[in-house]
């Protein structure tokens, strides 16, 4: 080193400075990705007295009370069995009065009419229901609809919904399996605050 004319600047501490910066960023930042269940709320009814007429057999009523207990069509049920109940309820049985009515819908992308169920999931919760339970039920409903989307995608394209790369195809599946969940106007159903 002494042979050279100009002495070199000692760059050894450069690493320390960079380390300090690095540690600062490590501490102040969050790496987590936001995940969640996305839903579209129904718009407010324009006319308050307007009642939507839905036939009894077309609705699967899910009720959660303030003790986080669930009723499905008037009978106690668990979250675990809910997805299967929904899939069964939404399946198409044109001539069976125990299942919802069906209607025909023309899907341009498929070039033909398809039978669709008129079934609807009605979700009603109490003001005292815990958010944890509510999310569990929402999750179960989402699971059922994802399952149905997978089934539809398998039937028409031979792939699972997630494996479809063409956004047009995804659109068709979304049209075939609309998320028919209605959340009732809030009211006190189970004695919560």
């Amino acid at each position: 080193m002494a042979r050279r004319g100009a002495p070199e600047i000692n760059a050894g501490s450069m690493a320390d400075i960079a380390f300090l910066l690095l540690i600062f960023f490590l501490v102040t930042t969050t790496m987590n990705v936001d995940t969640g269940i996305t839903r579209i709320l129904p718009p407010l009814p324009k006319n308050k007295n307007e009642k939507v007429d839905v036939k009894e057999r077309n609705v699967l009523k899910v009720l959660i009370n303030s003790h986080d207990l669930m009723l499905v069509n008037g009978k106690p049920a668990t979250v675990k069995e809910l997805p299967d109940r929904i899939i069964d309820f939404m399946s198409i049985h044109p001539n069976n009065p125990a299942y919802p009515q069906v209607r025909e819908k023309f899907i341009p992308a498929l070039g033909r009419k398809v039978l669709m169920t008129k079934g609807l999931i009605s979700l009603k919760n109490d003001r005292g229901t815990s958010y944890k339970m509510y999310i569990k039920v929402q999750d179960a409903i989402a699971k059922a609809f994802n399952e149905m989307k997978d089934q539809a995608a398998m039937k028409y394209y031979g792939l699972k919904y997630d494996q479809l790369l063409d956004p047009e195809k995804k659109k068709v599946i979304n049209e075939l399996v609309p998320i028919r969940v209605s959340e009732a106007e809030p009211e006190n159903v189970g004695g919560g605050r």
Binding site: I17, L22, D34, I37, T38, P43, D126, T129, K132, Q138
Partner: protein
């Protein structure tokens, strides 16, 4: 052989550390690029519920957050669930203004695409959440996201 010096007399050569800062800088840049700064100072305690069917929330610039949970400073604010908008506690009545501000801050073309992410503590009662949802409906902010953690080992 006497012409050649034996190397034993010299010290061992040092490892060149000149490139060490560069390596650290690369690490630094990686972290700077890949992370997002904490946006809001949380004033409510939030433990998100778990769910299996979660989706990633895309386009973070189009997301506004509403926090609901117990205040962190319970001695001062009590244990009732509170709503936090931006950096302060709010009531249900403040939601329309919050929605309007969130719309104003965005480009006109993307205003209809704003998602309102509800970050709600899992032990909150649904009453307050329902109130917030009703208020969002009134403000015509219909796209919402229930923020959840992904359940890693779903019990079958």
């Amino acid at each position: 052989m006497a012409k050649f010096k034996t190397s034993k007399t010299k010290e061992e050569p040092r490892i060149n550390t000149a490139s060490l800062p560069d390596i650290i800088f690369i690490l630094l840049f990686f972290f700077m690029v890949s992370v997002s700064m904490r946006q809001n100072n949380l004033m409510v305690r939030i433990k998100l519920p778990q769910a299996t069917q979660v989706q990633k929330l895309e386009k973070k610039s189009l997301v506004s957050y509403i926090y609901i949970g117990q205040p962190i400073d319970r001695a001062l604010y009590g244990t009732n669930a509170r709503i936090q908008l931006n950096d302060s506690y709010a009531t249900v009545k403040d939601i329309p203004e919050f929605v309007a501000k969130a719309r104003q801050a965005r480009n006109e073309a993307v205003r209809s695409l704003i998602t309102f992410s509800l970050k709600v503590d899992q032990n909150t009662r649904m009453g307050i959440v329902t109130d917030v949802k009703q208020e969002l409906r009134k403000a015509n902010a219909l796209k919402i996201n229930y923020s959840c953690r992904k359940e890693l080992n779903p019990k079958q």
